[in-house]
Protein backbone atom coordinates (compact mmCIF):
# COMPACT_ATOMS: atom_id res chain seq x y z
CA UNK A 1 0.00 0.00 0.00
CA UNK A 2 2.78 2.41 0.96
CA UNK A 3 4.66 1.45 -2.19
CA UNK A 4 1.60 2.25 -4.25
CA UNK A 5 1.26 5.65 -2.57
CA UNK A 6 4.92 6.45 -3.20
CA UNK A 7 4.80 5.37 -6.84
CA UNK A 8 1.63 7.34 -7.40
CA UNK A 9 3.24 10.45 -5.94
CA UNK A 10 6.35 9.87 -8.00
CA UNK A 11 4.26 9.54 -11.16
CA UNK A 12 2.45 12.82 -10.50
CA UNK A 13 5.61 14.62 -9.49
CA UNK A 14 4.68 17.95 -11.04
CA UNK A 15 1.43 18.21 -9.12
CA UNK A 16 2.96 16.72 -5.98
CA UNK A 17 5.91 19.10 -6.12
CA UNK A 18 3.61 22.10 -6.55
CA UNK A 19 1.50 21.07 -3.56
CA UNK A 20 4.49 20.15 -1.40
CA UNK A 21 6.21 23.45 -2.21
CA UNK A 22 3.07 25.33 -1.34
CA UNK A 23 2.87 23.53 2.01
CA UNK A 24 6.59 24.09 2.50
CA UNK A 25 6.36 27.81 1.83
CA UNK A 26 3.37 28.24 4.15
CA UNK A 27 4.91 26.20 6.94
CA UNK A 28 8.26 27.92 6.55
CA UNK A 29 6.81 31.41 6.58
CA UNK A 30 4.52 30.71 9.52
CA UNK A 31 7.28 28.99 11.49
CA UNK A 32 9.76 31.81 10.95
CA UNK A 33 7.21 34.52 11.77
CA UNK A 34 6.19 32.72 14.98
CA UNK A 35 9.86 32.44 15.98
CA UNK A 36 10.58 36.08 15.17
CA UNK A 37 7.51 37.23 17.04
CA UNK A 38 8.42 35.15 20.08
CA UNK A 39 11.98 36.43 20.05
CA UNK A 40 10.91 40.03 19.71
CA UNK A 41 8.24 39.83 22.39
CA UNK A 42 10.69 38.06 24.68
CA UNK A 43 13.34 40.70 24.05
CA UNK A 44 11.01 43.62 24.56
CA UNK A 45 9.52 42.03 27.66
CA UNK A 46 12.85 41.35 29.28
CA UNK A 47 14.14 44.74 28.30
CA UNK A 48 11.14 46.39 29.95
CA UNK A 49 11.75 44.40 33.13
CA UNK A 50 15.44 45.03 33.40
CA UNK A 51 16.57 48.11 31.53
CA UNK A 52 15.80 50.29 34.48
CA UNK A 53 16.77 53.56 32.77
CA UNK A 54 14.15 56.11 31.83
CA UNK A 55 16.35 58.39 29.79
CA UNK A 56 19.42 57.95 27.67
CA UNK A 57 21.77 60.89 27.15
CA UNK A 58 24.24 60.80 24.26
CA UNK A 59 26.42 63.41 22.49
CA UNK A 60 24.52 65.84 20.27
CA UNK A 61 26.81 65.03 17.34
CA UNK A 62 26.10 61.34 17.60
CA UNK A 63 24.36 60.04 14.52
CA UNK A 64 23.75 56.70 16.13
CA UNK A 65 20.07 55.89 16.65
CA UNK A 66 19.11 55.53 20.32
CA UNK A 67 17.93 51.98 19.61
CA UNK A 68 21.43 51.12 18.39
CA UNK A 69 22.96 52.32 21.66
CA UNK A 70 20.33 50.58 23.76
CA UNK A 71 20.07 47.35 21.79
CA UNK A 72 22.83 47.19 19.19
CA UNK A 73 26.02 45.27 19.81
CA UNK A 74 28.39 47.08 17.48
CA UNK A 75 31.04 49.31 19.05
CA UNK A 76 29.99 52.96 19.23
CA UNK A 77 32.83 55.38 19.77
CA UNK A 78 30.88 58.48 20.77
CA UNK A 79 32.00 60.82 23.51
CA UNK A 80 30.94 63.84 25.58
CA UNK A 81 32.32 65.51 28.71
CA UNK A 82 32.20 63.38 31.85
CA UNK A 83 31.29 66.41 33.95
CA UNK A 84 27.76 66.08 32.63
CA UNK A 85 27.23 63.05 34.86
CA UNK A 86 27.35 64.85 38.25
CA UNK A 87 25.32 67.72 36.79
CA UNK A 88 22.57 65.31 35.75
CA UNK A 89 22.82 63.43 39.06
CA UNK A 90 22.10 66.64 40.92
CA UNK A 91 19.17 67.65 38.74
CA UNK A 92 15.70 67.82 40.28
CA UNK A 93 13.58 64.83 39.33
CA UNK A 94 16.60 62.57 38.74
CA UNK A 95 16.86 59.58 41.02
CA UNK A 96 20.06 58.08 39.57
CA UNK A 97 22.42 58.75 36.70
CA UNK A 98 25.31 56.58 35.59
CA UNK A 99 27.89 57.40 32.99
CA UNK A 100 29.23 54.76 30.61
CA UNK A 101 32.36 54.87 28.52
CA UNK A 102 32.35 52.93 25.28
CA UNK A 103 35.39 51.59 23.57
CA UNK A 104 36.03 48.39 21.72
CA UNK A 105 38.16 45.31 21.33
CA UNK A 106 40.18 44.84 18.17
CA UNK A 107 39.92 41.99 15.73
CA UNK A 108 43.58 42.08 14.70
CA UNK A 109 45.04 41.72 18.15
CA UNK A 110 46.61 38.31 18.60
CA UNK A 111 45.89 38.33 22.31
CA UNK A 112 42.35 39.51 22.08
CA UNK A 113 38.91 37.90 22.16
CA UNK A 114 39.08 37.62 18.41
CA UNK A 115 36.38 39.96 17.26
CA UNK A 116 35.41 43.57 17.55
CA UNK A 117 33.16 43.89 20.60
CA UNK A 118 31.79 46.82 22.52
CA UNK A 119 33.64 47.48 25.75
CA UNK A 120 31.48 49.32 28.23
CA UNK A 121 33.14 51.05 31.08
CA UNK A 122 30.76 51.33 34.02
CA UNK A 123 31.10 53.43 37.12
CA UNK A 124 30.58 50.99 39.94
CA UNK A 125 29.69 53.80 42.33
CA UNK A 126 26.67 54.87 40.33
CA UNK A 127 25.81 51.96 37.99
CA UNK A 128 22.67 50.03 38.78
CA UNK A 129 21.92 48.54 35.37
CA UNK A 130 24.57 45.86 35.07
CA UNK A 131 23.67 44.26 38.40
CA UNK A 132 20.17 43.52 37.13
CA UNK A 133 21.70 41.29 34.46
CA UNK A 134 24.22 39.48 36.64
CA UNK A 135 23.26 35.85 36.92
CA UNK A 136 21.77 34.95 40.30
CA UNK A 137 23.49 37.70 42.25
CA UNK A 138 21.66 40.93 42.77
CA UNK A 139 24.05 42.09 45.49
CA UNK A 140 27.22 41.59 43.50
CA UNK A 141 30.31 43.48 44.56
CA UNK A 142 31.55 46.42 42.45
CA UNK A 143 34.01 45.39 39.73
CA UNK A 144 37.67 45.39 40.69
CA UNK A 145 40.20 46.84 38.22
CA UNK A 146 41.08 43.40 36.85
CA UNK A 147 37.51 42.13 36.66
CA UNK A 148 35.04 42.12 33.83
CA UNK A 149 31.48 41.05 33.20
CA UNK A 150 30.82 39.46 29.84
CA UNK A 151 27.66 39.21 27.78
CA UNK A 152 26.12 35.82 27.18
CA UNK A 153 27.35 35.69 23.57
CA UNK A 154 30.92 36.63 24.47
CA UNK A 155 31.86 33.61 26.52
CA UNK A 156 30.51 30.61 28.33
CA UNK A 157 29.88 30.59 32.06
CA UNK A 158 32.97 28.54 32.88
CA UNK A 159 35.40 31.02 31.33
CA UNK A 160 37.74 32.29 34.02
CA UNK A 161 40.03 34.75 32.27
CA UNK A 162 40.08 36.78 29.09
CA UNK A 163 42.74 38.84 27.32
CA UNK A 164 41.44 42.21 26.20
CA UNK A 165 43.68 44.63 24.35
CA UNK A 166 46.72 42.84 25.77
CA UNK A 167 45.57 42.88 29.39
CA UNK A 168 44.41 39.84 31.33
CA UNK A 169 41.07 40.11 33.08
CA UNK A 170 39.25 37.81 35.46
CA UNK A 171 35.69 37.07 34.39
CA UNK A 172 33.68 38.03 37.45
CA UNK A 173 30.41 36.99 35.88
CA UNK A 174 28.47 36.24 32.73
CA UNK A 175 25.40 38.34 32.17
CA UNK A 176 22.01 36.80 31.52
CA UNK A 177 20.73 36.70 27.98
CA UNK A 178 19.16 40.08 27.37
CA UNK A 179 18.43 39.90 23.69
CA UNK A 180 20.25 43.21 23.26
CA UNK A 181 23.73 44.42 22.44
CA UNK A 182 24.58 43.73 26.06
CA UNK A 183 24.91 40.08 25.08
CA UNK A 184 27.87 40.97 22.86
CA UNK A 185 29.43 43.50 25.24
CA UNK A 186 32.15 43.35 27.86
CA UNK A 187 31.65 45.44 30.98
CA UNK A 188 34.57 46.68 33.05
CA UNK A 189 35.39 49.48 35.46
CA UNK A 190 35.12 52.84 33.69
CA UNK A 191 38.64 53.89 34.70
CA UNK A 192 40.13 50.74 33.21
CA UNK A 193 38.12 51.15 30.01
CA UNK A 194 39.42 54.71 29.66
CA UNK A 195 42.95 53.58 30.34
CA UNK A 196 42.72 50.89 27.67
CA UNK A 197 41.35 53.40 25.20
CA UNK A 198 44.17 55.80 26.05
CA UNK A 199 46.96 53.27 25.79
CA UNK A 200 45.87 51.35 22.73
CA UNK A 201 47.34 53.10 19.68
CA UNK A 202 44.72 51.73 17.30
CA UNK A 203 41.95 53.40 19.29
CA UNK A 204 43.47 56.88 19.31
CA UNK A 205 41.68 57.75 16.11
CA UNK A 206 38.43 57.81 18.08
CA UNK A 207 39.69 60.68 20.21
CA UNK A 208 41.20 62.78 17.47
CA UNK A 209 40.53 66.38 18.28
CA UNK A 210 38.95 65.49 21.58
CA UNK A 211 40.06 65.55 25.15
CA UNK A 212 41.71 62.92 27.25
CA UNK A 213 39.49 59.78 27.60
CA UNK A 214 39.57 60.26 31.38
CA UNK A 215 37.29 63.26 30.98
CA UNK A 216 34.83 61.59 28.63
CA UNK A 217 31.73 59.46 28.81
CA UNK A 218 29.76 57.96 25.93
CA UNK A 219 26.29 57.82 27.40
CA UNK A 220 24.47 58.60 30.60
CA UNK A 221 21.65 56.37 31.80
CA UNK A 222 19.12 58.29 33.87
CA UNK A 223 16.55 56.96 36.31
CA UNK A 224 13.82 59.45 37.26
CA UNK A 225 12.04 60.05 40.52
CA UNK A 226 8.59 58.40 40.42
CA UNK A 227 6.79 61.75 40.48
CA UNK A 228 9.09 63.49 38.03
CA UNK A 229 7.94 64.67 34.65
CA UNK A 230 9.99 63.04 31.97
CA UNK A 231 9.48 65.94 29.55
CA UNK A 232 10.66 68.50 32.11
CA UNK A 233 13.77 66.52 33.02
CA UNK A 234 14.55 65.95 29.35
CA UNK A 235 14.34 69.69 28.80
CA UNK A 236 16.65 70.36 31.72
CA UNK A 237 19.24 67.91 30.44
CA UNK A 238 19.06 69.34 26.92
CA UNK A 239 19.70 72.77 28.38
CA UNK A 240 23.15 71.53 29.45
CA UNK A 241 24.02 71.73 25.76
CA UNK A 242 25.52 69.45 23.11
CA UNK A 243 23.51 66.42 24.16
CA UNK A 244 20.60 64.43 22.84
CA UNK A 245 18.11 62.95 25.29
CA UNK A 246 16.03 59.93 24.44
CA UNK A 247 13.28 58.32 26.39
CA UNK A 248 13.99 54.59 26.72
CA UNK A 249 10.27 53.90 26.89
CA UNK A 250 9.65 55.92 23.74
CA UNK A 251 12.49 54.19 21.95
CA UNK A 252 11.09 50.84 23.01
CA UNK A 253 7.58 51.84 21.95
CA UNK A 254 8.86 53.10 18.62
CA UNK A 255 10.59 49.79 17.97
CA UNK A 256 7.53 47.91 19.20
CA UNK A 257 5.30 49.87 16.81
CA UNK A 258 7.60 49.31 13.86
CA UNK A 259 7.90 45.62 14.49
CA UNK A 260 4.21 45.22 15.18
CA UNK A 261 3.62 46.57 11.67
CA UNK A 262 6.38 44.40 10.23
CA UNK A 263 5.17 41.27 11.99
CA UNK A 264 1.61 42.07 10.96
CA UNK A 265 2.79 42.29 7.38
CA UNK A 266 4.71 39.03 7.68
CA UNK A 267 1.73 37.32 9.29
CA UNK A 268 -0.43 38.67 6.47
CA UNK A 269 1.93 37.26 3.83
CA UNK A 270 2.16 33.96 5.67
CA UNK A 271 -1.60 33.84 6.08
CA UNK A 272 -2.07 34.54 2.38
CA UNK A 273 0.42 31.81 1.47
CA UNK A 274 -1.40 29.44 3.83
CA UNK A 275 -4.76 30.36 2.28
CA UNK A 276 -3.40 29.71 -1.23
CA UNK A 277 -1.95 26.43 0.02
CA UNK A 278 -5.26 25.36 1.56
CA UNK A 279 -7.07 26.25 -1.66
CA UNK A 280 -4.50 24.30 -3.72
CA UNK A 281 -4.76 21.28 -1.44
CA UNK A 282 -8.55 21.19 -1.49
CA UNK A 283 -8.90 21.84 -5.23
CA UNK A 284 -5.97 19.57 -6.07
CA UNK A 285 -7.39 16.63 -4.21
CA UNK A 286 -10.97 17.23 -5.24
CA UNK A 287 -9.86 17.17 -8.89
CA UNK A 288 -8.48 13.71 -8.31
CA UNK A 289 -11.98 12.39 -7.73
CA UNK A 290 -12.72 13.01 -11.38
CA UNK A 291 -9.30 12.36 -12.82
CA UNK A 292 -8.67 9.05 -11.13
CA UNK A 293 -12.06 7.36 -11.08
CA UNK A 294 -10.83 4.70 -13.48
CA UNK A 295 -7.76 3.89 -11.40
CA UNK A 296 -9.62 3.85 -8.12
CA UNK A 297 -12.42 1.81 -9.70
CA UNK A 298 -9.77 -0.71 -10.76
CA UNK A 299 -8.56 -1.10 -7.19
CA UNK A 300 -12.14 -1.62 -6.04
CA UNK A 301 -12.77 -4.08 -8.86
CA UNK A 302 -9.71 -6.03 -7.80
CA UNK A 303 -11.20 -6.37 -4.37
CA UNK A 304 -9.79 -3.47 -2.37
CA UNK A 305 -12.22 -2.54 0.40
CA UNK A 306 -13.67 0.97 0.03
CA UNK A 307 -12.24 1.94 3.43
CA UNK A 308 -8.73 0.95 2.32
CA UNK A 309 -9.12 2.93 -0.88
CA UNK A 310 -10.04 5.95 1.25
CA UNK A 311 -6.87 5.27 3.24
CA UNK A 312 -4.86 5.23 0.02
CA UNK A 313 -6.24 8.64 -0.99
CA UNK A 314 -5.65 9.98 2.51
CA UNK A 315 -2.14 8.52 2.51
CA UNK A 316 -1.22 10.53 -0.57
CA UNK A 317 -2.46 13.76 0.99
CA UNK A 318 -0.70 13.12 4.27
CA UNK A 319 2.54 12.18 2.52
CA UNK A 320 2.54 15.43 0.56
CA UNK A 321 1.73 17.49 3.65
CA UNK A 322 4.30 15.65 5.80
CA UNK A 323 7.13 16.12 3.35
CA UNK A 324 6.04 19.69 2.61
CA UNK A 325 5.74 20.72 6.23
CA UNK A 326 8.99 19.03 7.29
CA UNK A 327 10.76 20.81 4.46
CA UNK A 328 8.92 23.94 5.50
CA UNK A 329 10.24 23.71 9.05
CA UNK A 330 13.78 23.49 7.71
CA UNK A 331 13.07 26.40 5.38
CA UNK A 332 11.49 28.22 8.33
CA UNK A 333 14.78 28.09 10.25
CA UNK A 334 16.47 29.61 7.21
CA UNK A 335 13.77 32.29 6.81
CA UNK A 336 14.03 33.04 10.53
CA UNK A 337 17.80 33.48 10.46
CA UNK A 338 17.72 35.45 7.24
CA UNK A 339 14.78 37.53 8.44
CA UNK A 340 16.46 38.25 11.76
CA UNK A 341 19.71 39.26 10.08
CA UNK A 342 17.74 41.48 7.71
CA UNK A 343 15.84 43.11 10.56
CA UNK A 344 19.02 43.60 12.59
CA UNK A 345 20.66 45.32 9.65
CA UNK A 346 17.70 47.59 9.42
CA UNK A 347 17.47 48.49 13.10
CA UNK A 348 18.80 47.36 16.45
CA UNK A 349 16.16 45.88 18.72
CA UNK A 350 15.97 43.64 21.74
CA UNK A 351 15.64 40.03 20.68
CA UNK A 352 15.67 36.89 22.77
CA UNK A 353 16.07 33.75 20.63
CA UNK A 354 13.02 31.54 21.23
CA UNK A 355 13.59 28.61 23.53
CA UNK A 356 14.15 25.14 22.12
CA UNK A 357 10.88 23.97 23.68
CA UNK A 358 8.94 26.83 22.05
CA UNK A 359 10.57 26.13 18.69
CA UNK A 360 9.88 22.41 18.91
CA UNK A 361 6.31 22.94 20.08
CA UNK A 362 5.59 25.47 17.30
CA UNK A 363 7.22 23.25 14.68
CA UNK A 364 5.30 20.21 15.87
CA UNK A 365 2.03 22.16 16.00
CA UNK A 366 2.54 23.43 12.44
CA UNK A 367 3.46 19.94 11.26
CA UNK A 368 0.31 18.51 12.84
CA UNK A 369 -1.72 21.44 11.53
CA UNK A 370 -0.70 20.74 7.94
CA UNK A 371 -1.28 17.00 8.38
CA UNK A 372 -4.75 17.94 9.58
CA UNK A 373 -5.20 20.20 6.56
CA UNK A 374 -4.12 17.38 4.27
CA UNK A 375 -6.58 15.11 6.04
CA UNK A 376 -9.38 17.61 5.57
CA UNK A 377 -8.45 18.15 1.92
CA UNK A 378 -8.48 14.38 1.37
CA UNK A 379 -11.67 13.83 3.34
CA UNK A 380 -14.13 14.46 0.54
CA UNK A 381 -12.08 12.71 -2.18
CA UNK A 382 -11.48 9.78 0.17
CA UNK A 383 -15.18 9.57 0.94
CA UNK A 384 -16.16 9.90 -2.72
CA UNK A 385 -13.60 7.34 -3.81
CA UNK A 386 -14.93 4.88 -1.27
CA UNK A 387 -18.43 5.42 -2.66
CA UNK A 388 -17.38 4.73 -6.26
CA UNK A 389 -18.94 1.79 -7.97
CA UNK A 390 -16.23 -0.68 -8.95
CA UNK A 391 -18.14 -1.04 -12.21
CA UNK A 392 -16.81 2.36 -13.22
CA UNK A 393 -13.63 0.62 -14.33
CA UNK A 394 -15.62 -0.92 -17.18
CA UNK A 395 -16.84 2.40 -18.50
CA UNK A 396 -14.21 5.08 -17.82
CA UNK A 397 -12.07 5.82 -20.78
CA UNK A 398 -9.72 8.43 -19.29
CA UNK A 399 -7.50 5.93 -17.58
CA UNK A 400 -3.88 6.79 -16.92
Amino acid sequence: MIQLILRSLQYRKGRVLALALSVMLSTGLLFSVFLLREGLLGGLGKDEDRLGADLLVVPAKSEVAPGEILYGGAPQNIYMPAELVPEIQQMAGVSRAAGQFFTQTLTEDCCDVGESLRLVGIDSTSDWVSNAWRKGNSTAQPLKPDEILVGSKVASANLKHLFILGKLFRVAGVLEVSGTGLDSSILMDIKIARQLAKTTPQLQESFAGQENPDTLVSAVLVKLEPAASQAVVQQRIRSLGDVQVFSAAETRKHIQREFTVLLGLLFGISGFAAAVCIFQLFVGFYEQVHKRQGEWGLYLAMGLEPSRLALLVWGEAVSICSVGSLGGLAAGVFFYRYGLAFMENYEAFPFLPPSVSFSLFTGFALFLGFILLGTLAALLPAYKSSRLSPGIVMTRSDFS
Binding site: S8, Q10, G303, E305, G391, M394, S397, F399
Partner: protein, 226 residues
Protein backbone atom coordinates in the same frame (compact mmCIF):
# COMPACT_ATOMS: atom_id res chain seq x y z
CA UNK B 1 -21.00 -25.21 -9.49
CA UNK B 2 -18.59 -22.27 -9.40
CA UNK B 3 -20.91 -19.54 -10.65
CA UNK B 4 -24.67 -19.51 -11.13
CA UNK B 5 -26.86 -16.58 -12.13
CA UNK B 6 -30.63 -16.75 -11.97
CA UNK B 7 -33.08 -14.47 -13.64
CA UNK B 8 -30.79 -11.45 -13.86
CA UNK B 9 -32.51 -8.21 -14.83
CA UNK B 10 -30.90 -4.87 -15.62
CA UNK B 11 -32.40 -1.63 -16.88
CA UNK B 12 -30.75 1.67 -17.77
CA UNK B 13 -33.58 4.16 -17.37
CA UNK B 14 -36.55 2.68 -19.15
CA UNK B 15 -34.44 0.53 -21.44
CA UNK B 16 -34.13 -3.09 -20.47
CA UNK B 17 -30.60 -4.29 -21.09
CA UNK B 18 -30.79 -7.74 -19.56
CA UNK B 19 -33.79 -9.82 -18.64
CA UNK B 20 -34.27 -13.35 -17.45
CA UNK B 21 -30.60 -14.21 -17.69
CA UNK B 22 -29.70 -17.66 -16.45
CA UNK B 23 -26.12 -18.80 -16.56
CA UNK B 24 -23.93 -21.37 -14.92
CA UNK B 25 -20.22 -22.04 -14.99
CA UNK B 26 -18.27 -25.00 -13.65
CA UNK B 27 -14.66 -25.01 -12.56
CA UNK B 28 -12.45 -25.85 -15.51
CA UNK B 29 -15.10 -24.67 -17.96
CA UNK B 30 -14.76 -21.92 -20.55
CA UNK B 31 -17.95 -20.20 -21.58
CA UNK B 32 -17.95 -17.61 -24.35
CA UNK B 33 -20.63 -14.93 -24.60
CA UNK B 34 -21.06 -13.33 -27.97
CA UNK B 35 -23.47 -10.81 -29.36
CA UNK B 36 -23.64 -7.55 -31.21
CA UNK B 37 -22.05 -4.46 -29.74
CA UNK B 38 -24.25 -2.62 -27.25
CA UNK B 39 -26.24 -5.75 -26.41
CA UNK B 40 -25.18 -5.68 -22.76
CA UNK B 41 -22.35 -8.24 -22.74
CA UNK B 42 -20.05 -6.02 -20.70
CA UNK B 43 -22.91 -5.15 -18.35
CA UNK B 44 -23.63 -8.83 -17.81
CA UNK B 45 -19.95 -9.54 -17.16
CA UNK B 46 -19.70 -6.72 -14.63
CA UNK B 47 -22.85 -7.95 -12.84
CA UNK B 48 -21.47 -11.48 -12.68
CA UNK B 49 -18.16 -10.05 -11.51
CA UNK B 50 -19.99 -8.22 -8.69
CA UNK B 51 -18.85 -4.90 -10.12
CA UNK B 52 -22.35 -3.58 -10.46
CA UNK B 53 -25.78 -4.41 -9.13
CA UNK B 54 -28.47 -6.21 -11.05
CA UNK B 55 -32.00 -4.84 -10.64
CA UNK B 56 -33.28 -8.32 -9.96
CA UNK B 57 -32.08 -11.89 -9.82
CA UNK B 58 -29.55 -13.84 -7.81
CA UNK B 59 -25.90 -14.79 -8.21
CA UNK B 60 -24.34 -17.77 -6.49
CA UNK B 61 -20.64 -18.35 -6.00
CA UNK B 62 -19.79 -21.87 -4.89
CA UNK B 63 -23.45 -22.26 -3.99
CA UNK B 64 -23.68 -19.14 -1.80
CA UNK B 65 -25.89 -16.24 -2.80
CA UNK B 66 -23.73 -13.17 -3.15
CA UNK B 67 -25.82 -10.55 -4.93
CA UNK B 68 -27.33 -9.29 -1.67
CA UNK B 69 -23.98 -8.91 0.13
CA UNK B 70 -22.51 -5.55 1.11
CA UNK B 71 -19.72 -3.79 -0.77
CA UNK B 72 -16.99 -4.95 1.58
CA UNK B 73 -18.05 -8.58 1.37
CA UNK B 74 -18.32 -8.37 -2.41
CA UNK B 75 -14.85 -6.83 -2.54
CA UNK B 76 -13.55 -9.75 -0.50
CA UNK B 77 -15.17 -12.22 -2.92
CA UNK B 78 -13.70 -10.48 -5.94
CA UNK B 79 -10.31 -10.61 -4.29
CA UNK B 80 -10.73 -14.24 -3.31
CA UNK B 81 -12.33 -15.62 -6.47
CA UNK B 82 -11.95 -13.39 -9.47
CA UNK B 83 -9.51 -12.11 -12.00
CA UNK B 84 -10.54 -9.48 -14.53
CA UNK B 85 -9.42 -8.67 -18.02
CA UNK B 86 -11.18 -5.47 -18.99
CA UNK B 87 -12.08 -4.42 -22.49
CA UNK B 88 -9.74 -1.46 -22.32
CA UNK B 89 -6.30 -2.13 -20.95
CA UNK B 90 -6.67 -1.02 -17.36
CA UNK B 91 -3.10 -0.58 -16.27
CA UNK B 92 -1.84 1.93 -13.73
CA UNK B 93 0.31 4.42 -15.60
CA UNK B 94 2.47 5.09 -12.54
CA UNK B 95 3.61 1.48 -12.37
CA UNK B 96 5.96 -0.55 -14.54
CA UNK B 97 4.87 -3.77 -16.22
CA UNK B 98 6.20 -5.82 -13.33
CA UNK B 99 4.59 -3.55 -10.75
CA UNK B 100 1.26 -3.66 -12.59
CA UNK B 101 1.38 -7.45 -12.55
CA UNK B 102 2.25 -7.34 -8.84
CA UNK B 103 -0.47 -4.78 -8.10
CA UNK B 104 -2.78 -7.30 -6.39
CA UNK B 105 0.13 -8.28 -4.17
CA UNK B 106 0.81 -4.62 -3.37
CA UNK B 107 -2.82 -4.15 -2.45
CA UNK B 108 -3.41 -7.35 -0.57
CA UNK B 109 -0.06 -8.38 0.78
CA UNK B 110 3.20 -9.09 -0.93
CA UNK B 111 4.40 -12.58 -0.31
CA UNK B 112 7.49 -14.23 -1.71
CA UNK B 113 5.24 -16.73 -3.48
CA UNK B 114 3.32 -13.95 -5.21
CA UNK B 115 6.50 -12.25 -6.27
CA UNK B 116 7.77 -15.50 -7.71
CA UNK B 117 4.44 -16.02 -9.46
CA UNK B 118 4.75 -12.51 -10.93
CA UNK B 119 8.15 -13.36 -12.36
CA UNK B 120 6.74 -16.56 -13.86
CA UNK B 121 3.88 -14.66 -15.46
CA UNK B 122 6.32 -12.16 -16.96
CA UNK B 123 8.05 -15.05 -18.70
CA UNK B 124 4.84 -16.87 -19.68
CA UNK B 125 3.48 -13.77 -21.39
CA UNK B 126 6.75 -12.85 -23.03
CA UNK B 127 7.10 -9.66 -20.99
CA UNK B 128 10.42 -10.37 -19.30
CA UNK B 129 12.18 -7.86 -21.52
CA UNK B 130 9.57 -5.23 -20.70
CA UNK B 131 9.73 -5.54 -16.90
CA UNK B 132 10.61 -1.92 -16.26
CA UNK B 133 8.58 -0.45 -19.08
CA UNK B 134 5.59 1.75 -18.31
CA UNK B 135 2.19 1.15 -19.93
CA UNK B 136 2.66 4.15 -22.19
CA UNK B 137 5.66 2.41 -23.73
CA UNK B 138 3.84 -0.82 -24.59
CA UNK B 139 2.03 -2.04 -27.69
CA UNK B 140 -1.64 -3.00 -27.52
CA UNK B 141 -0.75 -6.68 -27.39
CA UNK B 142 1.77 -6.17 -24.59
CA UNK B 143 -0.78 -4.14 -22.64
CA UNK B 144 -3.38 -6.89 -22.95
CA UNK B 145 -0.88 -9.55 -21.93
CA UNK B 146 0.12 -7.49 -18.90
CA UNK B 147 -3.53 -7.16 -17.88
CA UNK B 148 -4.03 -10.89 -18.22
CA UNK B 149 -0.88 -11.62 -16.23
CA UNK B 150 -2.12 -9.31 -13.47
CA UNK B 151 -5.49 -11.05 -13.45
CA UNK B 152 -3.78 -14.39 -12.96
CA UNK B 153 -1.36 -13.35 -10.19
CA UNK B 154 -3.64 -14.47 -7.37
CA UNK B 155 -4.62 -17.61 -9.31
CA UNK B 156 -8.32 -16.83 -9.42
CA UNK B 157 -10.98 -19.51 -9.50
CA UNK B 158 -12.96 -17.41 -11.97
CA UNK B 159 -11.51 -15.39 -14.84
CA UNK B 160 -13.80 -12.79 -16.38
CA UNK B 161 -12.41 -11.54 -19.65
CA UNK B 162 -14.01 -8.82 -21.73
CA UNK B 163 -12.81 -8.86 -25.35
CA UNK B 164 -9.28 -9.98 -24.41
CA UNK B 165 -8.19 -10.46 -28.01
CA UNK B 166 -9.84 -7.35 -29.40
CA UNK B 167 -7.54 -5.11 -31.49
CA UNK B 168 -4.68 -7.58 -31.26
CA UNK B 169 -2.62 -8.97 -34.10
CA UNK B 170 -2.81 -12.68 -34.64
CA UNK B 171 0.35 -13.50 -32.74
CA UNK B 172 -0.63 -11.47 -29.66
CA UNK B 173 -4.21 -12.75 -29.78
CA UNK B 174 -2.88 -16.29 -29.98
CA UNK B 175 -0.66 -15.77 -26.91
CA UNK B 176 -3.59 -14.38 -24.93
CA UNK B 177 -5.88 -17.17 -26.05
CA UNK B 178 -3.41 -19.89 -25.12
CA UNK B 179 -3.02 -18.35 -21.67
CA UNK B 180 -6.79 -18.34 -21.19
CA UNK B 181 -6.96 -21.98 -22.18
CA UNK B 182 -4.21 -22.77 -19.67
CA UNK B 183 -6.24 -21.08 -16.96
CA UNK B 184 -9.15 -23.32 -17.81
CA UNK B 185 -6.89 -26.36 -17.89
CA UNK B 186 -5.56 -25.40 -14.47
CA UNK B 187 -9.11 -25.72 -13.15
CA UNK B 188 -10.45 -22.18 -13.16
CA UNK B 189 -13.76 -21.23 -14.71
CA UNK B 190 -13.48 -18.73 -17.55
CA UNK B 191 -16.23 -16.42 -18.70
CA UNK B 192 -15.25 -14.79 -21.94
CA UNK B 193 -17.00 -12.00 -23.77
CA UNK B 194 -15.80 -11.84 -27.35
CA UNK B 195 -16.63 -10.87 -30.88
CA UNK B 196 -13.94 -13.14 -32.17
CA UNK B 197 -15.72 -16.25 -33.43
CA UNK B 198 -12.41 -18.01 -34.02
CA UNK B 199 -11.92 -18.22 -30.27
CA UNK B 200 -15.56 -18.29 -29.19
CA UNK B 201 -16.05 -21.53 -31.06
CA UNK B 202 -13.25 -23.15 -29.05
CA UNK B 203 -15.12 -22.53 -25.79
CA UNK B 204 -16.93 -25.34 -23.98
CA UNK B 205 -20.15 -23.46 -24.54
CA UNK B 206 -20.90 -20.44 -26.66
CA UNK B 207 -23.77 -18.21 -25.59
CA UNK B 208 -25.44 -15.49 -27.57
CA UNK B 209 -26.74 -12.34 -25.91
CA UNK B 210 -29.46 -10.90 -28.05
CA UNK B 211 -32.16 -8.39 -27.16
CA UNK B 212 -31.27 -8.71 -23.50
CA UNK B 213 -31.68 -12.46 -23.39
CA UNK B 214 -29.03 -15.13 -23.32
CA UNK B 215 -29.37 -18.33 -25.28
CA UNK B 216 -27.14 -21.17 -26.21
CA UNK B 217 -25.64 -20.50 -29.59
CA UNK B 218 -25.99 -24.12 -30.60
CA UNK B 219 -26.54 -23.31 -34.24
CA UNK B 220 -23.83 -21.95 -36.51
CA UNK B 221 -23.71 -18.20 -36.20
CA UNK B 222 -23.25 -15.76 -38.97
CA UNK B 223 -19.77 -14.39 -38.20
CA UNK B 224 -20.52 -11.15 -39.95
CA UNK B 225 -23.47 -10.37 -37.72
CA UNK B 226 -21.54 -10.68 -34.48
Amino acid sequence: MLLRAENIEKKYGKETILHGIHLSLERGELVAITGASGNGKTTLLSILGLLQEADAGAIFLDGKEVQSLGNTQKAALRRQYMGFVFQRARLVGALTVQENILLPAWLFGKTAARKKRGEELLKIFGLAAKTDFFPAQLSQGQLRRTVLARALLLEPALLLADEPTNDLDEVSAGTVWRAIQQVRTAGAGVLLVTHDMQYARQADRMLLLEKGALRLADTPLDDKKI
